[in-house]
């Protein structure tokens, strides 16, 4: 029994899952590039995104302006880069906010059960029952439009989803023998929750959050398209889509490039999420 064990060399890679799955690798690489673009927008953008050029109104793509120009003669590439920065910020920020509050709520509800569960989950279920976009629009109607309000609205939509995911994985983990064993060792319940339940239950929520981040970009675009998101002079991908729709037949590049940016991002987050799943799925841990 003990013969082979001491000779097994330590496995060095702790991130085997993400990097061994090709999808995960591709998603990770694209995301890194996209984040770099968003972070270094001022260095990368070839032109001032707000510079109006009367000579270039609706000008098609050329070498100096690879994405063409919009109705005010502004460089679409530079505008996409800056708008992407706003959109990605809202997407990541909203999901993180929802994660930060949703995970502890789901964790406590799932671990304690009973009336604690009811107290936490019933209101959350009520939010979940409302149509997501309608909820966001209603929130913005109350507080007023803006990219930070869009961020908050998306967080409100996402919190119940993440809380539910964490709660269900917590229910599974809390019934495991090792949690009972931890209790039998006299481990205080606060520590059981944070050190034993959370690490084993968080995986599905991380995967879910990653995929939700991609979709947050779409929700943000939808809200902005409706004029409820980022307000001028701030631009986001949704605002660009809204601005360009009148020129769709004459100058499709104004619409295509922000659309492609959204599509690529959603795809990259999904790929990355799938890669993470391979690594973080509870079944993967005991392999």
């Amino acid at each position: 029994m003990s013969v082979a064990i001491p000779n097994v060399p330590a496995r060095t890679s702790r991130r085997r899952g993400i990097l061994t799955s090709r999808k995960g690798r591709v998603g990770f690489a694209i995301l890194l590039a996209l984040i770099a673009i968003a972070a270094f927008a001022p260095l990368i953008a070839p032109h001032d995104p707000n510079a109006i050029d009367a000579a270039r109104i609706l000008a098609p793509p050329d070498l100096a302006h690879p994405f063409g120009s919009d109705a005010l003669g502004r460089d679409v590439l530079s505008r996409v880069i800056y708008a992407y920065r706003v959109s990605l910020g809202v997407a990541v920020g909203s999901t993180l906010l929802a994660f930060l509050f949703g995970v502890p709520l789901g964790l406590y509800a799932g671990y304690h059960g009973g009336w604690v569960d009811t107290l936490i989950m019933r209101p959350i279920d009520m939010v979940l029952a409302l149509p997501a976009l309608l909820l966001a629009v209603a929130l913005i109607a109350i507080i007023g439009p803006g990219s930070d309000v869009a961020l908050l609205a998306i967080a409100v939509i996402y919190l119940p989803i993440l809380a539910r995911v964490v709660r269900s994985s917590t229910l599974v983990v809390a019934s495991q023998t090792y949690v009972e064993a931890a209790r039998a060792r006299g481990t205080p319940s606060r520590r059981i929750i944070t050190r034993h339940v959370l690490p084993n239950a968080i995986g599905p929520a991380i995967v879910q959050a990653t995929i939700l981040m991609g979709f947050a970009l779409q929700i943000e675009a939808a809200l902005s398209f409706l004029g409820l998101g980022a307000q001028p002079p701030t631009s986001s991908l949704g605002v660009m889509l809204a601005d360009g729709r009148d020129f769709l037949t004459q100058a499709p590049w104004i619409e295509i490039f922000p659309g492609v940016a959204i599509a690529i991002t959603v795809l990259a987050f999904n790929f990355f999420g799938d890669g993470l799943r391979a690594r973080l799925d509870p079944r993967g841990v005991t392999r």
Partner: protein, 336 residues
């Protein structure tokens, strides 16, 4: 017993279910002396584990425990949860059946031991780590320094059970409850773990309550044994007595069911009948429906009585039981 470390008196455990209350443990009284290995034997579902969980205060809220559990002179039934937590893992510890599931897969094994120490002792992390390393070496884990940071899945089943035992010993408990500690392991590993337990008992003088359905394990390791059937404790005796002269019909049937070397293949002896439903069980002795010696009086619960100094039996066939049952006789029948 004067030096009893654990004394159970008239312990009843019921579980509330949708179909009614399951009487999992009924009127169990026993005491475990300091330094001994006490075996608790019985078939699956007879209440062995429930009894251990009741002692640890680890039963779910759907369970109601009555009677008295005294540990080191202290009453545990009704003790506030925080006081129970302080005892658990410190003075009483528990080894679970399946080492594959009783270690946290996302937690290095050494730290699970260290955690048990820091949960009860105000010591520095480095001190807890040193102690954990010593414990790993103690239970026979080679190269503890290298193993300390390993996740459980990198260890074999036998190694994991050694880690679980090290965890149970972390604070040098007065009492260790081992619930089927060898059942999930194959036979060679089983005997290694039993050797380890015997060796640890000798060196550390830890009292062990060993729960098992395996009479072979009892024979190898225990000093005294209690036999349980359907939630009732039917017989307590020294191990040699139980094997030499079992008194209760269930114990006799259980021993007769052990296969021998000269047995024809396919001719395993079984006890006819089935375990009674523990929701509203029949009154009296729960073995009555399967007992070859069943009598009218068996509808009254037979009290556990001393046949000799260290042989107790709960059966109306026994003179001692009849003696003990006489004064209060009919009154005890209401328990079921």
């Amino acid at each position: 017993m004067s030096d009893a470390i654990l004394t159970l008196e008239h312990v009843d455990v019921g579980f509330d279910t949708d179909d009614g209350t399951v009487s999992a443990v009924s009127d169990v009284s026993l005491s475990v002396a300091a330094g001994e290995i006490f075996g608790l034997v019985g078939e699956s579902g007879c209440g062995k584990t429930t009894l251990a969980m009741a002692t640890m205060g680890l039963l779910p809220v759907s369970a109601t425990v009555s009677g008295s559990v005294r540990f080191l002179g202290r009453e545990l039934v009704g003790l506030p949860p925080e006081d129970l937590r302080r005892l658990r893992g410190d003075r009483i510890s528990m080894v679970f059946q399946d080492p594959m599931t009783s270690l946290d897969p996302a937690f290095p094994i050494g730290e699970q031991i260290a955690e048990t120490i820091t949960a009860h002792r105000d010591v520095q992390r480095s001190h807890a780590r040193d102690r954990a390393l010593a414990l790993l070496a103690d239970v026979g884990i080679p190269e503890p320094e290298r193993r300390y940071g390993d996740a459980p899945h990198r260890l074999s089943g036998g190694m994991r059970q050694r880690v679980v035992i090290a965890t149970a010993l972390a604070n040098e408990p007065a009492l260790m409850l081992a619930d089927e500690p060898t059942t999930a392991l194959d036979v060679t590993i089983q005997s290694q773990i039993l050797d380890l337990l015997r060796d640890l008992r000798q060196r550390l003088r830890t009292t062990i309550v060993l729960i098992t359905h395996d009479l072979g394990v009892i024979a190898q390791l225990c000093d005294r044994v209690g036999v349980m059937y359907a939630g009732q404790l039917v017989e307590i005796a020294t191990v040699s007595e139980i094997f030499r002269a079992p008194r209760h019909p269930y114990t006799q049937a259980l021993l007769a069911a052990l296969p021998t070397q000269h047995q024809e293949p396919g001719s395993l002896r079984v006890i006819p009948g089935r375990v009674p439903n523990l929701i509203a069980p029949p009154p009296g002795c729960r073995f009555a429906s399967r007992c070859p010696h069943v009598m009218d009086v068996c509808t009254i619960v037979p009290p556990l009585a001393h046949e000799s100094a260290d042989h107790l039996i709960a059966c109306w066939l026994s003179e001692a039981t009849r003696e003990a049952g006489r004064p209060t006789g009919a009154a005890t029948g209401g328990a079921a």
